[in-house]
Amino acid sequence: MISPKKVLIIIPAFNEERTIRRLVQEIKKIYPDFTVLVINDGSTDHTAEEALEVGAFLIDLPYNLGIGGAIQTGFKVAFEENFDIAVQIDGDGQHDPRYLPCILEPVASGKVDLCIGSRFLNEHSGFKSTFSRRIGIRFFSSLLGLLTGVPITDPTSGFRAYGKKIIPIFAQFYPVDFPEPEAVMTAKRYNAKISEVPVNMRKRLGGISSIRYLKTIYYMLKVTMAILIDMLKKKQKEISYGS
């Protein structure tokens, strides 16, 4: 159904040698036609070799840019090579590739420009998060809902599909500090249509979450500040396809 469109799967990976091979294989099994691009964000382990062995395309960043900078590299490729849809999926195996069709469909059909896979929309989701993490996520979803008018249940989810309207914008202005919640603000600033679909997330197979428990409150304060500061940003002139 989505096959005529050109789809780029962007996998940011920082030291994910234990999970990357399985993830790429799973994606390739479901969608052999899609381009799978692993962005190796300055890993010190064998992430790059593992990804290449199973036939993924690979971009090696010379040093660790953080998830925002890595994802943005993917958007730049998607823009330059004229992809119709870009999909972001974490390299740690937390996102189940079987849900790819769910987040792809709304974007492929042109209904929305940004589709977020949410682990909280599904009542029976097996995802267990820590208490502090849940509070944080609840807080951000209210904050973003208030500011953007879009009810988002899982603002920190990095399992997302992006349409052609938003790819050139993110190739240029992808936020680097706290990319997931901030990207929603950026998308909204450029009048993107945003929606969520329920997905299941697995327990992390490897890697460590970039959000650590003891720092949750500090993290929340910082992200809130970042989101509020985002509101001040001017809408800049964007590049577009064929310019």
Binding site: D60, L61, Y63, G69
Partner: protein, 118 residues
């Protein structure tokens, strides 16, 4: 009188030092202009003490020295703000350079292995 001489010497020293840095190409115009400007202002006031007194009276400073301290801290705050902006700019640039290098390597490798078609 001693203070005045001291101020003159310090600002002349900074002025000449910055000029020397420019000569050795360790500083460009963009970054040197604020230093040259401030040391010139200090020199100017050192030779026009009455003007300095008048201005500090006008702004309600009890002592001209307070006025000078105020000016100094204002200058440093502004300078560090400016430096933050420069750092930020450098950050964005290195990041986009890193991304471009990554993408270039990717393209080169793709060209070297034509069997991996897009």
């Amino acid at each position: 009188m001693g203070v005045k001489t001291f101020a003159i010497f310090v600002s002349i020293f900074i002025f000449l030092f910055v000029i020397e840095l420019i000569r050795r190409q360790k500083m460009t115009f963009k970054y040197s202009i604020s230093w040259l400007g401030v040391s010139s202002v200090v020199l100017f006031f050192a030779f026009n003490e009455n003007l300095l007194r008048k201005i500090s009276d006008f702004f309600g400073f009890q002592l001209p020295s307070n006025f000078i301290f105020f000016l100094l801290s204002a200058f440093f705050i502004f300078l560090s703000l400016l430096l933050t902006v420069y750092i930020n700019e450098q950050n964005n640039r290195t990041e986009s350079l890193a991304q471009t290098i990554g993408m270039l390597e990717f393209k080169i490798k793709k060209m070297q292995s034509p069997e991996q078609k897009k």
